[in-house]
Symmetry: C2
Subunit: 434 residues, 2 copies
């Protein structure tokens, strides 16, 4: 047993405190850097940055000079945010978890970073990603158990929020790279509807799926930041949701212990008076997976075509193998897979209307974080939702026998991000009590 | 391994958030009660209160109606605070951890509670105390390890803050009942100068020493609340302190592992450029202990004279034995012990001036929290400071090999509470990085 590393910091009250001058920014930045220096060597959530303290001090000074009075300070005034290292941030190199020369990967700052900065946030640093947001893991450890993966590919973002290094981090999800690490690390992960946050300035994996997302300690934090990052946010309907469970082969991909915890959560929600309906939603789940993989592999290969041609020898074997498989996928097969997706989208929407379901529930991952740092776990529980481009979030919900966190995945309608966050608040309260 | 129970919540940002309406009070109170209901059965920090939710909802409604706008809200608006169950709170019975009829123990609300309520705080509940703040422990478990004591006698207050049930709790210290449980539970404990917070409305143990104190996640929290509770708070001098270490038989009472951690902390502070001077301050330490015990035992017996005469059979054996020993102490021996204290006070003050020391440092306790719930650990490391009435605080500082927290005790000059809190901020930053 060692020092407990898990100390998630609620974003909403931290942001409110900073706006009120509690603490003042210089103090906040000094503590942040002391904390990263002391704790990050144990979890490796951040990409090392020797000049971090000086850079943040200068940025904090600028920000404080621009907003000398609490009145009129922007909503994330001073908030330290970790940004996944496939997202371009002016002044910080983009490595993307790879050995490629950062000059080759460089690009203009991502709009998501512009939006964070316009809201007053300070970029605390780049967070570790699996190589190019695919599967070859970085050095990050799970703060709940340093011998276990934090999940990926947004490994550092999830671990940094779980360890309380920062109250907010940005990740991306192609298949399961926000929801799964959030669940493994016991924090909230929110992956909005595909396209809801501009994806420019982010190294692509599979552009048909790539979506920015956020990690916070709790749902209130996600609800604070989502309107600042998403396009066209509207007031939300927070009526009590009717819940749906997608029964069948999809759900059976979860491990027995995770399924037992999931069923207990359903029972708890039902006891609290919520409606839970079970629907066989993906009778062809294996086919759904194959079709997604066709698109993903094709697009990964196209995203990396130029770089891989020039620097193929610098890619890690897992990534290189994935790219080579993708090079063998025909464009017409990818087009057919996207047509399959349209039919699936219509079918799921119709089934949802017929069943009168607002939110779908499923385990966020097949179980707790697997042991070892050689992989980042299985994304399968996120697969159909990411294929469909639906908004999804992971709420901390229960524990494995080993004391690793489990997550409850809550999925909304396409474009229904507002409603998802608003309606999930009740689930969070009933399930976590935090 | 189970769910990590340690989640201390920083008071200052939580209070700033509540003042700004983040979260609104009804939501805050609902979450608080859900959290206590879910987590407290694992640690037993609170005295059970069946009507808690309804009471807090009503009090929150009143408070929100009185302060509808963020502007003008008091500094602890809505903050949930745990109050040790030897402190009278209107509307809640005082049991004092004993089997005596609460009607017998009842009394007018303590001024410390008036001050908390005037500052906007909501009393979340009474926290478990060792019987009459002496040594017979309550059911509270250490959130860092449920098989270990949280320390005492302010057991529930320390555990409630460590588990993040509340961001603030009130305790009392006669010898070591704030500093030790704070250290065992890995939170900040602050015990001001004797007399600095009115002690009225608190069941007495030894009135020559009894002092109210506070538990918070961090020093910023203690610094927020101290001016609201202490009499005549003034602006503080936060110049870099010269540090003193009271070498000799006193320090040798700590276990080797705790002493090693302490020496590492001293080395770290010295590396950061701070002056550390070693002074043999209590060459007669055993005698200091005997003299304190003479006063303590005499006064405990006098405090309980009437109740013990009527309800002696309801006292727990440890407490009854202590009272009986105290009944045998002569009033002139106690008077002599208090004269001894005056000489000690002068001698220590002179040694401090000669050495040019601002703050004394020592381990907060002899080691990490002992295993088992049959006792609350050894108060000896607090003994000379409590005898002298000096302000002291415990900062989280390091870990035992078993993963239990250790504390650094920082002691100021009599009446130098402001300076102690201000100067300790630097130590907290250098040692904890949180």
């Amino acid at each position: 047993m060692e020092e407990p590393l898990v100390r998630p910091r609620p974003l909403a009250s931290e942001a409110a405190g900073l706006r009120a001058g509690v603490p003042e920014l210089p103090e906040y930045v000094d503590r942040l850097c002391a904390l990263v220096e002391r704790v990050d060597p144990l979890i490796h959530a951040f990409v090392p940055e020797p000049g971090r303290h000086g850079r943040l001090r200068a940025q904090a000074r600028e920000l404080a000079a621009r907003y000398p009075e609490p009145d009129g300070r922007p909503p994330l005034y001073g908030v330290a945010v970790g940004v996944k290292d496939i997202v371009h941030v002016d002044g910080l190199p983009t490595h993307g978890g790879s050995a490629l020369p950062p000059g080759v990967l460089a690009g203009p700052q991502a709009p998501v970073v512009e939006r964070l900065r316009a809201a007053g946030a300070l970029v605390a640093g780049k967070t570790v990603t699996a190589e190019f947001a695919a599967s070859a893991p970085g050095p990050t450890r799970n703060p709940h158990h340093p011998g276990h993966t934090p999940g990926g590919s947004s490994s550092g973002s999830a671990a940094a929020v779980a360890a309380g290094l920062v109250p907010l981090a940005i990740g991306t999800q192609t298949v399961g790279s926000v929801v799964r690490p959030a669940a493994y690390c016991g924090v909230v992960g929110f992956r909005p509807t595909y396209g809801r946050i501009p994806i420019d300035g982010v190294i692509p994996n599979a552009p048909s799926f790539d979506t920015l997302g956020v990690f916070t300690a709790d749902l209130a934090g996600a609800a604070l930041v989502a309107p600042l990052l998403c396009d066209g946010w509207r007031p939300a309907d927070d009526s009590e949701p009717a819940l749906g469970v997608p029964d069948g082969t999809y759900l059976e991909r979860a491990e027995p212990a995770a399924l037992r915890a999931f069923e207990e959560q359903l029972a708890r929600l039902a006891r609290a008076g919520l409606t839970v309906r079970r629907v066989e939603l993906f009778p062809d789940f294996a086919e759904v997976g194959r079709q997604l993989q066709t698109v993903n592999r094709f697009e990964l290969a196209r995203s990396h075509a130029d770089w891989f041609a020039r620097f193929g020898g610098l890619y890690r074997p897992e990534t290189a193998a994935g790219i080579r498989v993708g090079q063998g996928v025909a464009a017409e097969d990818r087009a057919a897979a996207l047509r399959f997706r349209e039919r699936l989208r219509e079918r799921v929407a119709a089934a949802q209307t017929a069943a009168g379901v607002d939110l779908w529930l499923a385990p966020s991952a097949t179980g707790g974080a697997p042991e070892g740092l050689h992989g980042t776990g299985d994304a399968v529980m996120s697969l159909p939702w990411s294929f469909l481009g639906r908004p999804a979030l992971s709420l901390p919900a229960g524990w494995t026998g080993e004391g690793l966190p489990l997550g409850l995945q809550v999925v909304g309608a396409e474009g229904g991000d507002e409603r998802l966050l608003a309606q999930a608040a009740l689930l969070e309260r009933l399930l976590t009590g935090r």
